[in-house]
Amino acid sequence: MAETGFLPKDKINGFLEALGKDSLVYMPVLEGDTIIFRPFSPEKNLCLDRPANSPPKSVIFPQSDVLFSYRYEKETDDPKKVSVKIESHTDYPKAVIFGCRPCDVMGFTVYDRVYIEANGPDTYYKERRDKTAIITLSCPVPSAGCFCTALGGGPANREGSDVLMTGLEKGFFFEPVSEKGKAMLSAPGMEDGARYMQEAQNKQQDAYNAVKKPFPSVSHTELSRKRFDLNEFWQQAVSKCVSCGACTFLCPTCYCFNFTDEQTLESGERIRSWDACMFYHFTLETSGHNPRPTRFERYRNRVGHKFLFYPEKYNGVIACSGCGRCIRYCPVSVDISEIVSQLRSPE
């Protein structure tokens, strides 16, 4: 049994179709100029040229998720008696994420600590996570704003993936990371990867070197608390922020959510939907008071959560994978890497 695999370019569709037999396969699809993860179908325009605009986090952590629905039922004899029937929806299908990037997967490892390890598993998350296999593509070249290497990751980081693919001239080199991954080596069209190992490693090394490093490395202990607490610093840094949710909703490591109940006359649903600390409502209290009324306070929280609070709670792990999306897609180009390096530089 081979250690690694190789999948010729022309075998991809067959490979995905095979996967599709027992699971829902999501792949990056090009729509106009936008790349977005969509369920596999041969007609769709698979695109691996660059990271998708939005990470595949919604596959495991849907943007809006009906946790359960409920129905009121009347007892016909006595219209005053009402009973409630609750129905939960956790029978998720097996899923495969194909062609996401190491920085995307790292997001799931960030969630795992919170939703599985820390305080008892969140069934909705865990169920999907367990049933999902992740086939990651190592990045051939960095995109504008990428800084994964500065955060200990890299274009070929294996953490969290089941398989790491590396795009080569004639096809894709497969390195299994988990048992799920190993199983894929026996997929139809898969060849032994041994003779492609070297080419792949060179590719991965070149990519690693190409990624820009705004700072050599970062740990939450190095950041200046003093500057972090200084309002003027943030006003200066992010007064231009328009306080939209693009950064958080595109972020592979952001995992905040909100609950809402939606009710009709007879029935209702409890919905868990993404929330963003950049939104005014995120901290708005019923009284009307808002502890984070201004935009810079909200942005400070975002940086704080990723580079201070999370690491403090989860032995030093930074909750940012350096995918650069928040920089690339920010309406006003707020650059988190620049802000972090400013927090890093000595007082």
Partner: protein, 143 residues
């Protein structure tokens, strides 16, 4: 809750209390027979009808929406229907751009005394919606 009878389509009407709702009453008092698809929502004035109500209805299952107020100059609140006229006209012209047949939305003026005009409006509009058939807007979204 009985399901919508198969031959019926969903037609929603926003009627101002003073003229058109009264006109519908008059039609009733005069026993002017009408199709039964229409469901009437009473508002104080056509000026109260935010075009978004029409959109909301159409996106959420209505096959046709009808808004009716006092004739221009006869508004109970003197100006309400003048605002309505501009805003609803704007919406009517936008709908086809979205791919929704503008004939699914109709706004008009019926006074409290115009029972016959009301009967004619409801009948013709309902028939029109039946010609156009149900409005299909895709409902599911990919995660």
């Amino acid at each position: 809750m009985p399901e919508i009878a198969t031959q019926e389509l969903r037609v929603v009407g926003f009627l101002c209390n003073w003229c058109s709702y009264g006109g519908a009453d008059t039609a009733g008092v005069s026993r002017f027979k009408q199709p039964t698809d229409l469901r009437i929502i009473r508002v104080p004035c056509s000026g109260r009808v935010d075009p978004l109500f029409v959109v909301k209805a159409l996106l959420n299952g209505a096959d046709g929406v009808l808004v009716s107020g006092c004739h221009p100059r006869d508004c109970h609140y003197s100006d309400g229907n003048f605002y309505a006229r501009r805003r609803l006209e704007m919406l009517k012209r936008l709908l086809p751009f979205l791919g929704i047949d503008e004939r699914r939305f109709y706004y008009t003026w019926v006074s409290a005394s115009e029972g016959a005009r009301w009967q004619q409006t409801v009948t013709e509009f309902t028939n029109r919606i039946h010609e156009l058939g149900p409005l299909h807007i895709k409902k599911e979204a990919t995660p």
